[in-house]
Amino acid sequence: MATEPLLMARGLVKRYGRVTALDHADFDLYPGEILAVIGDNGAGKSSLIKAISGAVRPDEGEIRLEGQPINFHSPMEARKAGIETVYQNLALSPALSIADNMFLGREIRKPGFMGKVMRKLDHSAMEKMARQKLTELGLMTIQNINQAVETLSGGQRQGVAVARAAAFGSKVIILDEPTAALGVKESRRVLELILDVRSRGIPIVLISHNMPHVFEVADRIHIHRLGRRLTVINPKEYTMSDAVAFMTGAKSVPTEPVAA
């Protein structure tokens, strides 16, 4: 991949009082690839993608999308620019139903006068589509599609968030530990979904602690350590043991140019 990165960040710094979450971190995502981001708990992975997707504003550093410097003030702007994110804390509205959550900000309205002038929602269309997306993810234990999200099990909730991101295909999809709470079957479906999205040409950022999954789907692996990018490796050239050794500091990284 000698092309230009689609999404690029250089020297990102984010401090919270006495805590340093990002310490001059770099980041590159190339078109059409699956980039995995791995690292210890608290290494700064979530902070990195929050900075990229406009959810927090970095103290220093610059971000470029398709070569253009960007400066998102809110996740909405990032989304408008085509960056769709599933945050680790899921960002669902607890009291709203599954369907309401999936379509928040992109509601389907009734056709004709009722929808255009009266702005009436098409509840049944949204419910149908929500049920379909959940079935695609294998979430068969959800009995009532109008259940409030706060009453869902941990994994069901995560499924809803992932289904939402997948349903609204866009320029980049960022998934922060999308399978952490998922069961065996549901996790597998998410992996399939990721591959499916890539086959539509959309690049994906996947944060995960699951090494077999990472090595199964990733094209490149960004290893994050102590708030910065330690290195990027090609999963075909390194073993899982290498990756884990790098990310935990058990082994130091060979000084070679970053894989691209």
Binding site: A91, A95, D100, E192
Partner: protein, 359 residues
């Protein structure tokens, strides 16, 4: 998306998944009894509970007082007495749904009514224009509230507490506390008294103010439940951060809510002229506490994101029923206050109890 398109799973055990069951879980609910259907109904329509409490209190006072209370006339009188609280309560509902609170509703209402009146009588504006100006004033006050809450991220309690004092003082400074008498309004600008006009259906007496409240509540019910804006409002109140991350423009929502609240308060101000006949700067001192009470009795959470505007209306009516009922029972004013205090608590306790039983 059906089979993996590229890599194959690292773990063998994942291969068995292709045979896994694809039925949506369902259970024999044996939910056929009336009671259980009723429970589901209560569960899915939160305002039904306040409605039950309302009906209960009507029945009790009806039994105690007979036709003196249980007449078309008395019952519609209650509607008239709560119309203003109901309208202001609608504004309050919107704000409280966002986990805010609006202490300035009463002040905005009164300022708007004073502007409507003074613009006719002091500056000789046509009454329609004066009314529009009143609405504009309501909207501006609401906008300032909303801007301070959304942009400056100040707590709604403080913002609207400050606005309450500011608007009240502005009102007094502007109007010099002059009352415009009913008789003058009647001859020069009867449109100002529109909402006080009544029509009868049998013994029942309705004012247009009552109709305004009912239509407003119905309209807001529709907006909250059947439009994107309504869903966004719930989301913002529920968890603003999550709403923001899922792509709701939280700031714009908040500002629009406070502006709408201001406009509704102006409507209440207009209705107030109808109710008291005159334009008086001293009205509405307790509108904020009364509207908040209606909202809370109606089962709406002060922490935002939950509840129904119908519940608010029932809440306002419950207080109205108690107040009139107790006065008719002839209790001393002090005893009335005491009992209203008790009954507010009891009403909410029954509400909670029904919700729990329906759980």
């Amino acid at each position: 998306m059906s089979e993996p398109t590229a890599a194959s799973p690292h773990h063998d055990y994942e291969k068995v998944l292709k045979d896994s069951s694809t039925d949506v879980a369902s259970f024999d609910t044996d939910d056929k009894s009336f009671l259980q259907k009723f429970r589901h109904f209560l569960h899915s329509s939160p305002s039904a509970v306040s409605l039950i409490v309302l009906v209960l209190s009507l029945v009790i006072f009806g039994a105690l007082l007979g036709t003196k209370f249980f007449s078309a006339f008395s019952l519609t009188l209650i509607l008239q007495q709560v119309a203003i609280t109901g309208i202001v309560g609608a504004a309050q509902t919107l704000v409280i749904m966002t986990a805010g609170i609006d202490l300035s509703v009463g002040a905005i209402m009164v300022l708007s009514s004073v502007v409507m009146g003074q613009f006719v009588f002091r500056y000789g504006l046509p009454v329609e224009l004066a009314i529009l100006c009143g609405f504009a004033v309501g909207a501006i006050c609401g906008f300032i509230n909303g801007w301070l809450v959304a942009r400056m991220k100040l707590p709604p309690f403080i913002v609207t507490l400050g606005m309450w004092q500011i608007v009240l003082a502005t009102n007094f400074l502007y109007s010099a506390n002059e009352t415009i008498r009913a008789q003058e309004i009647e001859t020069t600008a009867p449109l100002l008294q529109l909402f006080g006009d009544t029509f009868r259906i049998g013994g029942a007496v309705f004012t247009y103010g009552v109709i305004a409240m009912v239509l407003l509540v119905a309209f807001l019910w529709y907006v909250l439940n059947h439009t994107p804006w309504g869903r966004h409002l719930y989301a913002v109140g529920d968890d603003p951060e999550a709403a923001e991350l899922s792509g709701v423009n939280v700031k714009r929502m908040l500002i629009s809510v406070y502006v709408l609240s201001g406009i509704i308060c102006a409507l209440a101000g207009w209705a107030l002229i109808g109710r008291i006949g005159s334009v008086s700067p001293t009205a509405g001192q307790f509108a904020n506490i009364e509207s908040i009470t209606a909202v809370v009795i109606g089962g709406i959470s002060l922490f935002g994101g939950r509840g129904s505007v119908l519940g608010m209306m029932f809440g306002a009516l419950i207080v109205g029923v108690f107040s009139l009922g107790l006065r008719l029972l002839g209790t001393d004013v002090q005893w009335t206050y005491l009992l209203i205090g008790v009954l507010i608590i009891v009403a909410v306790a029954i509400d909670q109890w029904i919700r729990k039983a329906a759980g």
